[in-house]
């Protein structure tokens, strides 16, 4: 186990999540991609804490922030999906392209 191995895993999770967030059509699946990207961030943060600065608590606090961000992203995403489905029966990004440039 080295810092590089953990960071490679984090990069892999981040890239898979990015692929999902960009390629999926369903709003809920896009949120899954975002969650997977944040999952990679958790791995990287924990590894940095352990291998670089185990003496401090900043790494742990950062993980708490990321976990909270995941929960907020999930709740806000579902609320938006519910609102747009209620008003227009839209559950796909391709049907919600009003703001596309």
């Amino acid at each position: 186990m080295t810092l590089e191995l953990f960071l490679l895993l984090a990069a892999g999770l981040f890239a898979i999540g990015l692929f999902g967030a960009l390629s999926q059509m369903s709003i809920v699946m896009i949120m899954m991609g975002l969650e997977l990207m944040l999952n990679g961030v958790i791995v990287a943060t924990a590894a940095f804490w352990f291998y670089v600065a185990p003496g401090g608590t900043d790494g742990q606090v950062l993980i708490v922030v990321v976990i909270t961000a995941m929960a907020i992203e999930m709740a806000a995403g579902f609320a938006v999906a519910t609102a747009i489905y209620r008003s227009r029966q839209v559950d796909m990004t391709d049907d919600a392209a009003d703001l596309a440039g």
Binding site: L5, L9, G12, S23, V28, Y51, T57, I63, A79
Partner: protein, 186 residues
């Protein structure tokens, strides 16, 4: 030795289940694949000695993914995998972007001269975290708390079907609420 084996098992599991999230057909399976990926990451966090945060991730993700499964089945066009259909758009472009990002990250990871380990971990990490959140990192904690509260308000406002303007008019001056069905406390 055991920790090295555990690392590889959990790392491969996290990646494979993460990959399966976008390969499986059934929405229920997709949700539980994502849960498995989260649990593998929680295992890695535990492996690094962060027992409290690891357990928090396990508890939170189990609940979050079970709730997510309900929403997935509600909103997906192919809830049970019975109607196989493509759910992708611009697959090639997305794959190229994700690939380029991965290569750039890997290059950074392998080329950067990372600093060496400094300091010793506190004997009780959970205590240290609590002390930080209630002391030096109090501002972080307060920001998180207010943000979570704002999320609660925002999600309820966004997802409610009929708000008070629907019930009491634009000026909120209707004497009796305009409800489709009477009764209750309204």
């Amino acid at each position: 030795m055991i920790s090295i084996v555990l690392f590889w098992v959990l790392a491969v599991a996290a990646l494979v289940f993460g990959f399966l999230v976008f390969r499986l057909d059934s929405m229920a399976q997709v949700t539980f694949a994502l849960l498995a990926s989260f649990l593998a990451v929680a295992g890695l966090v535990l492996l690094l000695g962060l027992s409290y945060l690891g357990v928090v991730i396990v508890l939170m993700m189990v609940i979050e993914m079970v709730i997510m499964a309900v929403f997935m089945i509600m909103y997906m066009m192919n809830p049970a995998g019975l109607m196989p259909m493509s759910m992708f758009h611009n697959t090639k472009g997305s794959a190229v972007i994700a690939g380029v990002v991965f290569v750039a990250l890997v290059a950074g990871i392998l080329l950067v001269d990372w600093p060496t380990r400094q300091g010793e971990a506190a004997p009780d990490l959970t205590f240290a975290l609590g002390e930080a959140l209630m002391g030096g990192q109090m501002l972080t904690m307060m920001t998180l708390g207010v943000t979570l509260f704002a999320t609660i308000v925002a999600t309820v406002v966004l997802s409610t079907n009929r708000g008070r303007y629907d019930r009491f008019g634009d000026d909120l001056d209707r004497a009796v609420a305009d409800d489709p069905a009477g009764g209750g406390v309204g």
